[in-house]
Symmetry: C2
């Protein structure tokens, strides 16, 4: 699958087949690509906690506040992306330029995770709506949880939806 | 090129062949993939300004403060990613959860741009070190510039470097 196909095929999967486990080799491929993601000053300011089984269910519940993300409970794998402290160089750049590079870095690694999941034939969804305190406790991680990515096989009746995006001339200005 | 190959091949290109233009169809492919990037609540809170010629050189100069990014001047294309205001739904989520989704969204779209550039055989580099006020003026864009992505052909002597990343067991915890 080339990248254009990945971009067209990846969609937020909210309809997982909870009876199908994710093969370890597919998860390893996802983590191997995630590891190669670029980051500001190569700071890699994140930790990935891969949750399966009961832990995955607990993490899913921690994304379900106010009736959100009910589907998450059916995904057999939850990857928690926690934000780690800045490296000194990145911290200096961020201070001088008032730019939040760690959030961008987390976006980049999330894009890598979901792109490789798509390439592996898996569904995924990025969840920003989460209970940080609960997730830290479940995972035993001291750093703030910024995203949870659900991963699993989509149900067979889960179709590729049309993507609603800005028209290209709303997105792009040529100079 | 599959995604794993893209992840291994993409590197920050700091050695552009300024004599080679980027073909419009390759740039169109990059923008088409960028358009499909996911974002929080599908807010797509960014504008891409594609700069060529003299405008590209001016943008490059605006990334060169304090002796940084001297190589940028040789890249024939500069894509400025400007951050736009939140959609109402994303703004609410961000407020309730104290999470900066727009920066993540910009990271995701930057990952899409550089992944597709790699797939198209082009070099790219994400620059967070930039003079926002200058870039707004050059591009005539009122929104803050968050990243500049340089795009062009790497010089023939530009080799694939080994990637320095955390070991997988530093990056990943299994639960």
């Amino acid at each position: 699958m080339n990248f254009s196909e990945i971009a067209q095929t990846r969609q937020s999967c909210r309809n997982y087949d909870s009876s199908k486990e994710v093969e370890q080799e597919k998860l390893d491929a996802i983590l191997a690509s995630a590891r190669l993601a670029p980051s500001a000053c190569n700071g890699q300011p994140y930790l990935l906690t891969v949750c399966r089984g009961e832990t995955a269910k607990e993490v899913a519940k921690a994304t379900m506040g106010m009736g959100m993300n009910k589907f998450a409970i059916d995904a057999p794998v939850q990857i928690v992306i926690s934000e780690m402290p800045y490296t000194k160089t990145a911290a200096l750049g961020a201070k001088v330029k008032g730019n939040d590079y760690r959030s961008m870095d987390i976006g980049i690694v999330a894009a890598y995770i979901t792109a490789e999941a798509t390439a592996q034939g898996l569904g995924s969804c990025m969840l920003g709506w989460l209970d940080d305190a609960k997730i830290r406790k479940i995972c035993g991680i001291e750093y703030p949880a910024r995203l949870v990515i659900t991963i699993g096989y989509a149900k067979e009746d889960d179709k590729l939806r049309d993507k609603k995006r800005k028209a290209i001339d709303e997105l792009v200005v040529q100079k």
